[in-house]
């Protein structure tokens, strides 16, 4: 299906490191909102007219987030250069370029949130784009990593229904992330986010059911689906704690971080399912055993 990989090992490791660092950026960004530090630095791109203001109080979170974002931007820029030199698959290089474009837009959105005093629309867009960029870094790391080759070798024919189920989960998770960001940045009612959480849980339960029933031998997909179920159960627990203890910024931020991991995992699962050859009939008898 895919051309034999010639990606150097160090590049795969570098891409993985970039993905991990982007996750750290999401945590740093989450802490900014959780501690209400978004406006602790009123100017942008400088901070109180300086590059390095005293890292006290809310400045620690806001300027810290900017610094982590700056490093992430450099990492992604370098990743693009490395991909350009070392990666033969055009679509992987394209993913890197989209990621880089996303980072530029994300930086501008971050600046606008500061200059326009946190308008909810821009703050929500900033939060959502951050999640999307993280997914892209995970996707590139996955494409360059050993797991890609491993999955390629174990790809089996799956039914159309398994693929559709796997595809619906990241869509559900994205809607749920939007509802969470909307609640967080506008102070709107929590109920849509709660309903969304159960919709995601049901979606992931169905995904697990379909994978177990119709594609149980597709081990990478099974592992991803089960991991998703574990994550979403943990996430509901974390969400409950975050709701009961909003004064614990680390808990609320952990909820944001786990949300990002769920999205990334669901995208990888859908991608893996999407790479499998598909049958249109979906019954236990006709499915791949």
């Amino acid at each position: 299906m895919d051309k034999q990989l010639e990606t150097p090992k160090w590049l795969a490791h570098y891409a993985l490191f970039t993905a991990c660092f982007t996750f750290f950026l999401i945590i740093a960004g989450g802490m900014v909102t959780s501690t209400d530090s978004g406006l602790a630095v009123p100017d942008w791109p400088l901070a109180y007219g300086m590059w390095f203001p005293p890292m006290v109080g809310g400045i620690f979170y806001e300027h810290g987030h900017r610094m982590v974002a700056g490093v992430t931007g450099i990492l992604i820029l370098l990743l693009n250069l490395f991909l350009w030199k070392n990666e033969s698959r055009l679509w992987v290089r394209r993913l890197g370029q989209i990621m880089l474009l996303g980072v530029v837009i994300q930086a501008l959105l971050g600046g606008l949130t500061v200059i326009l005093l946190l308008p909810p629309q821009i703050s929500i867009a900033h939060a959502m784009l951050g999640q999307a960029i993280f997914c892209l870094t995970v996707a590139v790391a996955h494409a360059l990593g050993k797991s890609w080759q491993g999955n390629t070798n174990s790809l089996q024919t799956i039914s159309e229904s398994v693929w559709r189920m796997c595809l619906s989960v990241p869509i559900l998770v994205s809607v749920q992330l939007f509802l969470g960001a909307y609640y967080r940045h506008t102070g709107a009612a929590l109920m849509p986010h709660v309903i969304g959480a159960f919709a995601v849980l049901i979606g992931i339960c169905f995904q697990n059911y379909y994978v177990l029933r119709f594609a149980a031998d597709m081990k990478p997909l099974l592992r991803m689906s089960m991991r998703l179920l574990l994550f979403v159960c943990l996430q509901i627990g974390l969400g409950l704690v975050a709701w009961m203890k909003p004064e614990w910024p680390s808990m609320v931020t952990a909820h944001v971080g786990l949300g990002a991991l769920i999205l990334a995992q669901s995208v990888l699962a859908a991608w893996t399912a999407g790479r499998c050859p598909r049958k249109t009939v979906s019954s236990p008898a006709s499915s791949v055993a």
């Binding site: 209400d36 602790a40 300086m50 203001p53 809310g58 620690f60």
Partner: protein
């Protein structure tokens, strides 16, 4: 000769009382207090560990001032103002309202200001602050005050009760501004009392606002040259 001078003086006073529009002789006042019933919430110490400059500015613990119950069971920092009934125009006074950041603490915690009146925000601290006014009717602002003794001037163009003023560097710093179109407002003091002077005779709606305990209104009638009384009572939530 002496009786002639006194009668002339009386004539001038009488003329002034009749002739001056909105004359001081016709104005009244309303005064009262804001009491608190129930168990007063225990004041919590504010943790200022996030900035050593803030911590070192205080020799003892600084207590949270969101609900301050005075020793006579009254409430401090209640903004009382005439919400309805004021007619006529009241130009903004030249007097500047001052909001200081001292010891990483806003002084005053609650204050009133007229539309168009100058607000001077100063930083008396040896650390930096941002001043984030989360206005809704007015234009919000977020300004940097990185240097000690720095001063910034702002005005509000529309009435708004209340405008939250916050420092996001030091999240415990919170102040509230009551922006009204007239000068008929007051903030309760350490005895829970307030007094609004110079109010023309008439019927008014008076509102008392507290940041945690909400708002209360009452109708009052102020007679010509008289001092009306209005007392409010908030209870523990």
């Amino acid at each position: 000769m002496k009786s002639f001078t006194v009668s002339k003086l009386m004539l001038v006073v009488a003329f002034a009382a009749v002739a001056l529009p909105g004359s001081v002789f016709a104005d009244s006042s309303v005064a009262g207090s804001v009491s608190f019933t129930g168990e007063a919430p225990a004041a919590k110490p504010v943790k200022m560990n996030a900035d050593p400059a803030c911590k070192s500015a205080h020799s003892g613990p600084v207590m949270d001032n969101s609900v301050v119950v005075n020793s006579n069971n009254t409430l401090k920092n209640v903004f009382v103002y005439v919400k309805e009934g004021v007619t006529g125009e009241y130009p903004a006074p030249a007097e500047v309202v001052k909001l200081d950041q001292k010891g990483c603490w806003y002084e005053p915690h609650v204050f009133g200001i007229q539309v168009g009146q100058q607000l001077e925000i100063s930083n008396s601290d040896a650390t930096l602050h941002n001043v984030n006014a989360k206005a809704k009717a007015n234009r919000p602002f977020n300004i940097a005050q990185p240097v000690q003794n720095m001063k910034s001037k702002k005005k509000f163009s529309k009435p708004e009760v209340m405008v939250s003023v916050k420092c996001n560097v030091h999240p415990w710093m919170q102040s509230y501004a009551g922006v009204v179109e007239h000068p008929f407002f007051a903030v309760t003091d350490a005895t829970g009392a307030f007094s609004i002077e110079g109010l023309p005779a008439g019927d008014y709606v008076l509102e008392a606002w507290h940041e945690e305990l909400g708002t209360q209104t009452q109708n009052i009638t102020v007679a010509e040259g008289a001092a009306a009384t209005a007392d409010f009572s908030f209870s523990a939530q």
